[in-house]
Symmetry: C2
Subunit: 464 residues, 2 copies
């Protein structure tokens, strides 16, 4: 039976487990040779981006506290904490590395769920790989399948789930990590159903926690608990038949009208990873075209900042509604402020984490320029587009219009740009590791005989 | 300002954190001398019941697998696993002991939320006490406050929360454990708000998992993650201001019309523990009056089982709807089967875990008697009542009617009955520990200089 031939109409009267089982069977049966070349390639791109953001976040204050707090409860030192010199055990490594990769919200974004799919899945798999030898292609296959399960569940509960207040990266990530680890451990269909059931008992994370350290706990749990769910299932720890579609299963409990079809339709023919995007800038995605335009204006500049009398920002009203934030006080707030973005990018010609930090926000010269921004609403514009115009004191006017921002599905980052992101964020994270050997190994990761060797490249030298 | 003077009307426009803060302040400020004598006494009763059910459950197959699986990730051997010879670390002990105490659903029940309040809170506190010296009265105070927070949050989301599919013991238990450990560690108001925020990121557990091993994971997580939430907060791991009442906070996300007043009204004057009940039998509570009646009929019996032609069970139609289950095949199913309950109790004059086990279900003589049960619906009866009538082949008829079952709020178990439950369940659990010193210490627990000494009495002798 083809997975997508399941009569989801019967779901109205209570799920019998057929959908969960179809997903489990797909995970159990799919082999490396079943993956299209584009999917294999995207998996490697996602991992390059994963190490970039994890190396950036690894010394954030949230991580400093978590490494210390979780470190008191580590069983061994077999596993790497990306970008740091401390070691920890498998479960803690899964949690801490997922936290690092997501702490700046600079990681990847699945469209349209806005799940950050890689952090929970990759962190669980690399932690596993350091204790259980695994080839690169085996890890990539497990990663692809984990992301597939995670994003299909996300599709089934979107958009209501996130709108209601569920932090979808956390709530769906635990299923993705469970599925991925199940594949990596070679579990059968029945055990994968149990793994998803064990994960369903551990799904959590609230949008209310965004902007606080608490958020990182749920992202870490998604990786840790997904990994644990699969290991327990492997040991015979059994769960319900229909953790997803059951009468009191995850889908119905967290969405009032789940899209049952999203779980299994075109399974093996359409791939969630091909709807994955990577952020070029550490900002809300609606600012991407604005930043692109400012970078282009600055590149060709024959004017200086002092010449600017006004900046006009033209776009869909949603752009203004989401980003009209003058007078921001923290780096975090600046990441969703058009005023700050325009000022800092026109002034510095860069848009990295330094430009959206507490220090950048405190720069008085940027505040002056930020005060000269004017929004021009135009509901006929698509939200993916924006135009920035600078009006000089001389009366001269320079404009740049962006139709599809870098990093969108229409204009994805090139491999060389992802490698550059990894280089820049490694520098930002101050771990002292050398990014070049890491990126070289990742681009040919399917030929890597020992997946763990790659993660060991991300260990920082200790004080000793 | 009195906690219950807060204008909860403003909650309609987004919570500002005042309710969470009021709960946190209550936890921070309340002292042992503020607890009424009845509350202190009830706390000790809850702990006697806790050790009874944990000692019963400690060798269930779910626990065997969890002790093994979780044991691979233990940082040290400082903490006791109740009823077992293995040791583990603080976080794992919290998880495993909460699992044991709840695995048979034979633990306590808060009315009307049906939260099993003690397992997550007590397991977290005793695990803490084995690493951080604590007096008995300090543990009791923290326990009372943890249960208060847990059940008030439960009241605020009930009944919709459980009906929708949230396993309320797990979802609210994590807050209770976080509050209790916060108190035991002496955290201030701000840190307790953070602890509750860290807990809000870790709330989960689905009704769909009931009857499977997966359920135990979420109950264990409630204790483990609540404990971790408080320890992280103590180290400065901060959370949102309004994890409970915020626009995307726990209450709104998991209930469409939360009862905001339930969080703080009569705080310090009404106590959740006084609405706590203890099960005399390992069955669905609607069967309690039925079992009471059968025990009474059997006690005075001048008939033998073979004389019985028919058994009539009279009660509210809900009793039939919930318990009309002929032909059950597992011990677990038998716990909600009137047919099995009537047959086994009339035959054996007992209603313990042995009587609701797989072995009891397989007894052919019980099946014959179970087949002679007839329900008589009477909607005028309260659900707390039931009447059992046996009709003998001679035509003779014996009836017993129960108005309020043992173990209900109207007819609570006496201390001697709780102590007897502890004795019986210790025997059932086959840990080989001596229950008498344990129960003696618990009845005077407020004078105990070292709370951990009591939990060490529950260590089983190892094979070495």
């Amino acid at each position: 039976m083809q997975a997508d031939s399941i009569d989801t109409g019967t779901m109205r009267n209570g799920g019998n487990g057929e959908l969960t089982r179809a997903l489990a069977r797909f995970v159990a049966d799919t082999q490396w040779q079943d993956l299209p070349a584009a999917v294999r390639s995207e998996a490697k791109r996602a991992l390059v981006n994963y190490f970039a953001v994890a190396l950036a976040g690894s010394h954030d204050p949230t991580l400093d506290r978590a490494v210390c707090g979780y470190g008191r409860f580590r069983a061994d030192d077999n596993s790497t904490i990306v970008g740091r010199s401390e070691r920890t055990d498998m479960l803690n490594a899964a949690a801490l590395n997922a936290m690092s990769a997501n702490v700046y919200d600079f990681d990847d974004t699945h469209i349209p769920t806005i799940i950050h799919p890689t952090a929970p899945v990759a962190a669980a798999l690399f932690a596993l790989a350091e204790s259980h030898a695994m080839r690169g292609d085996a890890l990539l296959l497990a990663f692809v399948l984990g992301v597939e399960v995670e994003c299909r569940i996300g599709n089934a509960v979107s958009p209501e789930h996130y709108q209601r207040g569920w932090h979808i990266t956390s709530t769906c990530g635990v299923f993705g990590a469970a599925a991925a680890v199940s594949k990596a451990r070679g579990l059968g269909e029945e055990e994968i159903v149990w793994a998803l059931g064990n994960a369903s008992a551990q799904t959590g994370g609230l949008v209310e926690t965004l902007g606080t350290m608490s958020k990182s706990i749920s992202v870490g749990n998604a990786a840790r608990n997904g990994l644990l769910s699969a290991l327990l299932a492997e040991d015979g720890f059994s769960g319900p038949d229909a953790p997803l579609e059951g009468e009191r299963g995850f889908l119905r409990v967290t969405a009032s009208k789940p899209d049952w079809h999203a779980l299994t339709q075109a399974l093996g023919r359409e791939w969630a990873l091909l709807n994955n995007t990577y952020k070029p800038y550490p900002c809300g995605v609606v600012l991407n075209p604005v930043i692109d335009a400012c970078l282009d204006l600055r590149r060709d500049a024959r004017w200086s900042i002092d010449d600017i009398e006004q900046v006009e920002l033209t776009g869909h009203p949603l752009l203004r509604e989401r980003t009209d934030r003058p007078g921001v006080r923290t780096g975090r707030e600046s990441q969703v402020s058009a005023q700050h973005a325009v000022a800092v990018v026109l002034s510095r010609g860069k848009a990295g984490l330094e430009e959206f930090s507490d220090a950048a926000v405190a720069d008085p010269s940027l505040r002056a320029l930020a005060g000269r921004l004017r929004f021009v609403d135009d509901a006929s514009w698509p939200v993916e587009a924006a135009q920035v115009s600078i009006v000089l004191r001389s009366g001269e006017r320079h404009s740049h219009r962006v139709h599809a921002a870098r990093g969108s599905l229409a204009a994805p980052l090139a491999n060389v740009e992802l490698a550059d992101k990894l280089q820049r964020l490694t520098t930002f994270g101050r771990s002292g590791i050398d990014a070049q050997p890491l990126v070289d190994r990742l681009w040919k990761f399917e030929h890597e005989p020992d997946a763990a060797a790659v993660v060991r490249l991300t260990r920082a030298r200790g004080p000793d």
